[in-house]
């Protein structure tokens, strides 16, 4: 059997087509799916968990579930990317609940991954903003955090978020509005501390 390699050339195909090809044993299809779906899955998990290593574990688990589901995937089902992000979201929420039960580190206590451009003052300010946002996100209820991350950081539309969270679009709008309000309140309190009270 030919091994799957990450560096093989890509051809434009629908995710569902690639999944069907993978289910029939095409190794290139898995590589293409991993390259397409991996970055948003890891990014979402990183935003929700605040820990890169845990996020990669969660995203890997979600991808494994996708590989297992591949032979039974129905073309008329949800988009593959939406399905995957839903699995990532649910795994993250489970992870956060377990973390809270264990009394593990809160989101704002998780160290930021090293940044090669850390010396530049503007990057320092960006890092401060990102860390402040992570801390404020950590105080949001899980569903609000999930909605805000998907809408405003991952940049997804309300309809796709509704599919991921298995709720209606009005509920998505409500969750993001309440989440943003709480975030704004929390971050305004830290604005002077972060040194950019001019925005």
């Amino acid at each position: 059997m030919r091994m799957i390699r990450p560096s093989e050339p890509l051809a434009p195909r629908d995710d569902a087509d690639l999944l069907a090809l993978y289910a029939r044993g095409d190794p290139d299809a898995a590589a293409q799916l991993a390259q397409r779906l991996g970055p948003p899955a890891v990014a979402l998990a990183t935003r929700m968990l605040g820990d890169r290593a845990e996020a990669e574990d969660v995203a890997q688990e979600a991808m494994l579930r996708l590989w297992r589901l591949a032979p039974d995937w129905q073309t008329g089902d949800a988009r593959v990317s939406t399905w995957l992000l839903r699995v990532v979201s649910n795994l993250c929420i489970d992870h956060l609940r377990r973390r809270k039960r264990r009394g593990g580190p809160a989101l704002d206590q998780v160290p930021e991954p090293p940044d090669p451009a850390q010396g530049a003052p503007e990057r320092m300010q960006e890092r401060s903003r990102a860390e402040a946002l992570r801390a404020a996100l950590d105080d949001l209820p899980d569903r609000q955090r999930q909605a805000v991350v998907l809408r405003h950081i991952e940049g997804l539309g309300n309809a796709e978020i509704a599919a991921i969270m298995d709720i209606g679009t009005e509920a998505v709008e409500s969750l993001t509005a309440r989440g943003k309000k709480q975030l704004a309140q929390a971050l305004r309190g830290r604005r002077a501390e972060l040194g950019y009270d001019d925005d």
């Binding site: 059997m1 991808m63 990102a130 704004a184 971050l187």
Partner: protein
Amino acid sequence: MTERHAPQDPADDDAFLGPYFAAARDPAPPSSAWTARVLADANRETQRRAAPRRAAVARGRRIFDVLGGWAGLGALAAAACAGLTIGLAPLAQIPDPLEIWIGAAAGYDLLPVTGDEILLALDGG
């Protein structure tokens, strides 16, 4: 640092949060080690799915070999067809096995008396 009045309008919240959301976007892409792990999972899953099919093929092959391959299977099929044909429509030249066992023509009396003897007995003769 000046402390300003916090705006309450949702549009103001959007403008205020914009730079924070921008700072949080574009995390580093997954590492090559992560991609390699994910593809290893995909390979393992493909092999796991293929394993039962391979086992079934191997089982079938063993039975085929035990029966003697194509020659054995052909002879078995011919014998089965012949048996079926003989059972359904025996050839005239082939003797009746019942006749061979009993040693007489097929058909025998269940009672050791004839029909006439029974009638005479009923008439009181």
